[in-house]
Amino acid sequence: MTDSSQTDPNQTNSNQAQQLWQSQPVEDIKMSADVIRRRAGKFERRIFWRNLREYVSSLVAAVLFAYFFATTHALLFRIAYALFIAGLGWVVLQLHRKGSARSMPAAMGSLTCLQFFRAELVRQRDIVSNVWPWYLAPLVPGFVVLTVGYAVARPAGLAAAGWLDAVVAVLFLLVWKMNQRAARCLQRMIDELSAAENQPQSGGM
């Protein structure tokens, strides 16, 4: 850095801070290439298990619906359970494609911090900004057919099915609202980054 510390007290203090920072004791951790390779493999496995954990709840629900599908004789119920399984399959596929947990991109060093950070924020915003087509809507046909199935099979139970549908609708609305809020928060961070990039003398993140 420039050596104007003789006259500028701010420079003197920040030089001292630089010296303090650079002279702090470190453990000097060494990792051989073999250790790194093993660690890289471990990292990939960690990502795999983390993703699997995300899918497990969907898989458990799918197995349950498959059991109901196999044991019920009413056609409409069987259609409803099949739709649920298909809907859950679609959700898991989208979760996998959108990659909520993923390994680090190898080209990380070719991106500036601004580019990388913004790309990550945009990716996360796109996931949460519109959860209807990939997360909520795929499950709606199953609920609709299940309600119709109840209406046909047991007209007396229609009110209960209606209540259940109402609870599910409220839950869906809450999920949607929470995701919209997260998307707005991420968008604000993206806007701050754009401002920091476009205004040479600005503050920003």
Partner: protein, 182 residues
């Protein structure tokens, strides 16, 4: 150590590039991890993740930027991902440099008599910052100039200069000569 050292041109393979990077910048990477994670256990994991990302990244290193820029970009980008993940579980809001200038200093008026105390204060200050400002202050503390910081972060040199000016003001306020004994 001086962070502006460069890696010998002879290092060509992925493993060699990584080993040279670890040897030359190992201490800087450790300090960087310390600035992004206070918990020692989690910090060790973060540091190992940075090393793994660095090793992997050298597979695609094309020499379009200096190895130093490449290494700092990878390290800061891994650390920024870590901050984004931790943000969901930690309540403390991160602030920008300009907000840091206006915030009252908790230790104001108390001279940092001990070196370790001064370092703790510096770390606390850094850990409050948003990722991009954290990149800038860390690069500055490592002794990088504005042009190098701009190349690593993607900010314009003018913006980096403004941020460095703010950093100096914040450091001057927090680490007045009477208190700090580096």
């Amino acid at each position: 150590m001086s962070a502006i050292e460069t890696i010998p041109a002879a290092a060509s393979t992925q493993d060699e590039l990584y080993q040279d990077a670890a040897r030359t910048f190992g201490a800087a990477l450790e300090r960087l991890a310390r600035a992004y994670e206070a918990d020692p256990e989690v910090r060790r994991d973060l540091l190992q993740d940075i090393h793994v990302a660095l090793w992997r990244s050298f597979e695609g290193f094309d020499g379009r930027c200096s190895t130093r820029t490449w290494i700092y970009r990878v390290a800061h980008n891994v650390a920024a991902s870590h901050v984004m993940q931790q943000r969901r579980t930690r309540s403390q809001a991160l602030v920008g440099l300009e907000e840091l200038e206006n915030l009252p200093d908790a230790a104001s008026g108390q001279p940092a008599a001990e070196r370790s105390q001064a370092l703790d204060r510096l770390l606390q200050l850094i850990q409050r910052l948003k990722p991009l400002d954290r990149h800038v202050i860390l690069s500055y503390l490592e002794g990088l100039d504005a042009a190098s910081i701009a190349e690593i972060t993607g900010l314009s040199p003018g913006n980096v200069a403004t941020k460095i000016h703010r950093i100096k003001a914040v450091l001057a306020r927090q680490f007045q000569t009477r208190g700090t004994q580096p």
